[in-house]
Symmetry: C2
Subunit: 359 residues, 2 copies
């Protein structure tokens, strides 16, 4: 790992590599936040604030509009895929290349190079996006300093392969618990098997057909999946408990309450002993009809797409700031051992954003 000072004079592709080689899995972002803060404080056209490991920098030029460029600095756990490696085709491999240090590199490059933007700029770098919603740094800033997040339009640089993605799906995590009664497995009929009692839950999940609704012109794609299952006491004991953790990713035409009700109804006949809502964050409608969003879209070009993954666009949406995703990463490779980013798209994203903010 390389924890030297960030060099914002190198291009966004090289800066991405430096950021990837500076490990920052969720919960361990402090050193990277320090480095980001130091690099930004060296730029005289910005004012810099910090809350925990979240860093916010702003221009104060009195422009008619203020644009927010936001990105998280944490990654999922490293899977033997750091340091980064650039191959002959210009593909940069490593943890966080796509999700989302390439986006953070573009933010830092705009901060470095666009010293007199045509719109005021707010740069937000935050921690703990890859873990439970209540830990999310953007949420903490929104609670403690909502004025830092005021703006007319927000661009979240989560990976979209350089296309504009509108809205985001909501994500609900529930734990479905079944109950049984222990007995020696030699006399199974004296007990009741809680793992067998989970059979209807898995059968319903296996038979689930995802809805693909069109919302504000964009087609979303829902998903309902078991992400964990646990049960068992000992190899000769009929288990008295089993827990299935289910993640529901839902289109932004459902409210949070509607999403939870859907899941409750879906498993209603499964004899669930306990239904625990473990984590829940709502989605955001695309909002591409907002004037600021439309202007951005016209400037950077391309057909907008829906965003399947939950992103913090939803948090800006809740603050009343229209927001889109627009970043160089390719979400297909997020959270994978073979995570990678095309450096040509990293450079192209930097170029288009800079052009829009200086034209």
């Amino acid at each position: 790992m390389d924890r030297s000072a960030l060099d914002l004079t190198q291009d966004a592709a090289r800066l991405t590599a430096q950021l990837v080689d500076f490990p920052s899995p969720s919960g361990s972002e402090k050193e990277l936040a320090d480095a980001v803060e130091s690099a930004l404080r060296a730029l005289p056209h910005l004012t810099v604030d910090r809350h925990g490991n979240n860093v916010v920098a702003r221009t104060n030029l009195g422009r008619a509009e203020r644009i927010i460029l936001a990105g998280h600095i944490d990654t999922v756990p490293i899977a033997d895929n750091v340091p980064s490696r650039l191959d002959d085709d210009g593909i940069l491999w490593g943890c966080g290349t796509t999700d989302m240090k390439s986006g953070v590199a573009v933010q830092l490059r705009i901060a470095q190079t666009v010293t007199e933007p045509n719109r005021d700029l707010t740069f937000v770098f935050y921690d703990n996006e890859e873990v439970a919603a209540h830990l999310n740094g953007l949420g903490h800033v929104a609670d403690a300093h909502p004025d830092w997040l005021e703006g007319d339009f927000a661009i979240l640089l989560e990976g979209t392969e350089g296309l504009v993605e509108g809205g985001c799906q909501g994500t609900l995590r529930v734990i479905l618990k079944t109950k049984g009664e222990r007995a020696h497995s030699a006399r199974a009929w004296m007990g009741h098997n809680a793992i067998h009692a989970a059979a209807p839950i898995l059968a319903k999940l296996a038979a689930y057909a995802p809805r693909r609704p069109v919302v504000d012109g964009l087609e979303f794609h829902e998903g309902l999946n078991a992400v964990r299952i646990e049960g068992g006491v000992a190899t000769n004991v009929i288990p008295d408990a089993c827990a299935v953790t289910v993640n529901f990713r839902y289109a932004p035409d459902r409210t949070m309450a509607e999403a939870e009700q859907f899941v409750r109804d879906f498993f209603a006949d499964c004899a669930i002993e306990e239904f625990v809502v473990d984590d829940h964050t709502g989605g955001a409608r695309p909002g591409l009809t907002h004037p600021a969003a439309a202007a951005f879209l016209a400037a950077v070009g391309g057909e907008p797409r829906p965003k399947f993954g939950w992103t913090d666009v939803s948090r800006f949406s809740a603050l009343g700031v229209p927001a889109v995703n627009y970043g160089p990463g390719n979400p297909i490779y997020a959270h994978k051992v073979d995570e990678r980013v095309d450096t040509a798209i990293v450079l192209e994203t930097e170029k288009r954003l800079a052009a829009w903010l200086t034209s």
Copy 2:
């Protein structure tokens, strides 16, 4: 805990309490084996041998028949149920009361009191019965010193509530693994969910109807149960692996090969990626028609029953020694937090065995 010397002059009920208060979960039997060995070496009518934490004591009177009295000295893990507690109804509560320190107490009392038995006696005390078959102390003695286990008839003092139980069921443990492909749970359709792939396994288990065959006049009762299930990578990742551990308890009219084939056939259409045989020990037919068994049965009385749980009767059976289960414990309470034994049955078992061996 009380690790003082064993007092074999107290009655079998009090001795059971002393043994329960001397903790010996599987893997931690050494101190109890030491105490048993010391107590037996103090008895001049016995010769004593030891192999690991297994103790074997014998009379050498040149009698026409040799009877083996066997019991394991280990217990399942203690569940805040030691020391023992005797209630006003004569019920002794605590870990190992039923399985099977009450049986061990009866063995030790026969060793102490029946100094001139009408049949030669072999007492076997062994370790690691409650864990994987390859650790079983009786198996280790059978491998290293088969001559120590020679005899005409064996009585295993596993809990039967003072009735004679013939034969035992076999037990096979397999791990059924399903395979998937990881993906971010926001784009579940890019992966394949290994937990959902386990749905047919649980559905078959939930629908399983046990066979209850009559073997040598006794009705057995089979069982097929998931005893553990594990799957999941992270709460936002489609899991690529899931494992269901299944325990098949089968009647002794099936061979080991037939039992394994039954399980393979049962799950044949479940798209199992890997089928692992984790542990397997065969059953034993009742064998109550053998003359030595019949004589014992006539002496102690009562209707014989089938033994559902796997016991080491099967190991004696494999050595060519007919064997039955006959012990004071109640198998319903084995491995339970509220494990207990009726001390009246402990005393009655001691009395009947002593009468048969001295009449």
